[in-house]
């Protein structure tokens, strides 16, 4: 079973900037809401979820798929790191 990785906010920032912002991070703060700012469209969310599952090694539970966990760099970081904390120790 893969371990759940912790993540650095800069990794998430890089993913968001590369995937949605054409490499330009002007105006993207750690707490910028993706949805309110219009940075990401509805199909973009699928990419965010895919990214988190790949990086964290965890399948995200249905009730975790909420804006409170996914709508900014800060929130994603906190969310992934909380998943890692609950994960079993490395063999």
């Amino acid at each position: 079973m893969p371990d759940n990785q912790t993540i650095d906010p800069s990794t998430i920032r890089e993913f968001i900037v590369e995937t949605f912002l054409f490499g330009d991070d002007t105006g993207l703060a750690e707490d910028t809401s993706f949805m309110e700012s219009g940075l990401i469209d509805s199909t973009g969310i699928l990419e965010v979820v895919d990214f988190i599952e790949r990086t964290s090694g965890a399948r995200i539970q249905d009730d975790h798929l909420v804006p409170e966990n996914l709508d900014s760099i800060e929130r994603i970081t906190r969310f992934i790191n909380s998943l890692a904390a609950e994960a079993p120790a490395v063999e």
């Binding site: 912002l21 490499g23 969310i45 996914l70």
Partner: protein, 660 residues
């Protein structure tokens, strides 16, 4: 159906160059491969490339009136020409052909510009009055047939396609940054504009008068939507019957041709309905044509076959592979003369080739039905969001959105993540563009790929504001659905669907498409149907479906709408097309065209080749970038020069040596 071209020296006079006019006509050969004709005098020249459909033997254009003072070059069809002709004959007009073309000319003689009110058709034409030295140009209500022009040193050059105008070396060829901004927001340049600087389009429903040193354009028609107070209070059943009767008549007069007529059959309600009307009432063994996809996600073959069998039509289906779609894209750009944001026009282009191979020149299609009868999700989405906006905290209201987009919400886990996107702008219900703000906002994201120079050139430009300012005076009297219909029809339908995905893809292989749902009498009636009957609750095209109950099997008539689309990433990066796409998008090529930022495009390519799940935006961006690059390549960088002259014209009227 044909191609037209012309030269009018509206300031000063000198004989028109035959060679110049002939070159313009030759560039339209695909639109009219059957014969060509020229008219020339000391001030004007009219050219015509003909696809013979009515009066095969004597319909050669340009055509004149009794005393040869009026000359016309005409592209299109006037479906009610026999009725108009009868009236004109009763008033003493004499005809030397049996064409619809000649009918326009005499009607113009009789009524002047008001002749346009009587024409039920799809057309673009120019009438030269050799006596008064004036020119009158017009385009049909929806712009089904194209007409472009430019003005150069007191000379008006016009043609069915821009490439014809570009055969004149003096005409500069340059991409218009504002048009790029518009395409990358609205899918097409707004009415009147083209992708090229100084090349204008005569907008749908407009005419132009050229009179001694003056050029004047005006709107002659507006969408016949009626305000709520004037709408029908009939029972829905009676409305459905009337829709059926008007559609039947629209189909009947669209079968008028001296060559056989076929239909396109997609398997959806609209084209099935038209095909059923043809097969049941007029032409039992009608030939039908349908598109199937190698890629099952896009395929509707099973429904097409079901319909073809049900109606007993002579059905031809063509399977489109991803590779075919990718490799035909440059040709589409050549014919469409615009960047595209989806590949959906390609299969229609390939299908028109098959139509020609089966010796047909004319097909009826289901185009226009979704716009006229309320079939699109964007209409329902606006309804729901307006309803939701009254109580933004209502979860029940919010949840209605997920019924509209089962393919976005098919993962129920994502519901709570998706809804906030549709909640954006709920406070903007007073904006006249409310229905379209989400779509246009999403599309405009792909402007992020613009080069710094292009972005700077449009930095002060606001396309939404231009649309708001251009809204007709009647707009505020229409109901919300009519307002959304107007936005959809005047921009996306006229400038994209009927053009890049309509006339051009068909005419690329010399095929004429006819659209019964856009018949003026159907429109006039639909304009009086209350919004709540067009879309009942969330049921799209409710009344249209009712009107086809009994004519079509229920699983077709009541089938949820399947949007017609074609694969993008697999087509452009699949198989042999990958190298060509990469070459087109390499840094040097991008820098030369100057439209896109190579680093950003590089990221997109890396992402898509890397197999990442392509978002909607990615597909639009890729198609937009590739097709804009092709546009630059074919029209700016490598526009064909000194093409060999085409065949000798079948008709030349040369009055350049006469005194006038």
């Amino acid at each position: 159906m044909c191609g037209i071209a012309g030269i009018v020296q509206y300031r000063g006079r000198k004989p028109v160059s035959r060679q110049r006019l002939a070159a313009m006509v030759d560039a339209l050969h695909h639109r009219g491969p059957d014969e060509t004709g020229l008219y020339l005098d000391n001030r004007a020249g009219l050219g015509h490339a003909r696809l013979s459909i009515i009066d095969l033997s004597s319909g050669t254009q340009p055509i004149h009136n009794e005393d040869q003072t009026l000359w016309i070059t005409f592209n299109g069809e006037i479906f009610n020409y026999p009725e108009l002709r009868k009236n004109l004959e009763a008033r003493g007009h004499r005809f030397y052909t049996t064409t619809d073309t000649e009918v326009i000319l005499h009607l113009y003689e009789e009524k002047g510009e008001a002749c346009l009110d009587d024409l039920n058709g799809q057309f673009a034409f120019a009438i030269w009055n050799a006596e008064k030295q004036t020119c009158f140009l017009a385009r049909d209500r929806f712009g089904i047939r194209p007409l472009y022009y430019t003005v150069l040193d007191g000379t008006l050059l016009f043609a069915s396609e821009i490439k014809s105008i570009f055969t004149c070396p003096a005409v500069p060829r340059e991409i218009d940054p504002v048009a790029m901004d518009q395409v990358f927001t609205f899918w097409a340049p707004l009415p009147g504009r083209t992708p090229f600087k100084n090349i204008r389009e005569l907008p749908a429903g407009h005419c132009m008068v050229v009179d001694d040193g003056r050029l004047e354009t005006r709107r002659y028609w507006q969408m016949p939507f009626r305000p709520k107070a004037d709408q029908l209070d009939w029972a829905p059943r009676r409305i459905a019957e009337e829709i059926q009767a008007r559609l039947k008549e629209a189909v009947r007069i669209r079968l008028r041709a001296d060559v056989p007529v076929g239909t396109y059959l997609s398997g959806g309600l609209d084209s099935s309905g038209i095909t059923a009307l043809v097969a049941r009432n007029f032409q039992k063994d009608v030939k039908t044509f349908g598109i199937c996809f190698e890629n099952a996600a896009f395929d509707e073959g099973i429904y097409q076959r079901r319909m073809a069998e049900f109606l007993g039509t002579d059905h031809v289906e063509q399977v489109m592979s991803n590779t075919q779609i990718g490799s035909a894209l440059p040709d589409i750009v050549w014919f469409a003369e615009k960047p595209l944001l989806r590949t959906a026009p390609v299969p229609l282009f390939l299908l028109s080739k098959t139509v020609r191979e089966h010796n047909l020149k004319v097909v009826l299609t289901g185009e226009g039905s979704d716009e006229v009868f309320g079939g699109y999700n964007i209409f329902r989405e606006a309804c729901v969001r307006r309803f939701w906006a009254r109580f933004p905290d209502s979860e029940k209201r919010a949840n209605l959105i997920s019924h509209l987009y089962p393919y976005i919400f098919n993962d129920p886990r994502l519901k709570r993540m998706m809804l906030p996107f549709f909640a954006k702008g709920l406070d903007q219900t007073d904006d006249p563009l409310f229905s379209h703000l989400i779509r246009w906002g999403n599309t405009a994201r792909i402007k992020g790929y613009f080069s710094d120079d292009l972005a700077a050139a449009v930095s002060g430009y606001d396309g939404l504001e231009e649309v708001r300012e251009g809204l007709p005076a009647e707009f505020s009297e229409w109901d919300h659905l009519q307002q959304a219909q107007h936005l959809e029809m005047s921009i996306f339908m006229s400038c994209y669907l009927l053009s890049s995905q309509g006339d051009r893809t068909a005419m690329g292989h010399s095929v004429e498409v006819r659209m019964p749902y856009l018949d003026p009498d159907v429109l006039e009636f639909a304009g009086r149907i209350p919004a709540n009957w067009k879309i009942l609750g969330l049921k799209e095209k409710y009344l249209l479906k009712q009107s086809f109950r009994g004519t079509l099997p229920d699983d077709i008539a009541l089938r949820p709408k399947h949007p017609y689309r074609a694969p993008i990433v697999e087509s452009l990066f699949g198989g042999d097309n990958r190298e060509a796409t990469l070459a087109l998008l390499n840094e040097a090529a991008l820098r030369e065209a100057g439209l896109f930022d190579p680093a950003r495009v590089g990221r997109l390519i890396k992402k898509l080749i890397g197999g990442a799940h392509p978002g909607e935006t990615d597909g639009m961006a890729l198609t937009g970038i590739v097709t804009a690059q092709w546009l630059h390549e074919r029209f700016i960088r490598n526009f064909p020069k000194n093409e060999p002259p085409g065949p000798e014209p079948g008709l030349v009227i040369d009055r350049r040596n006469e005194m006038n």
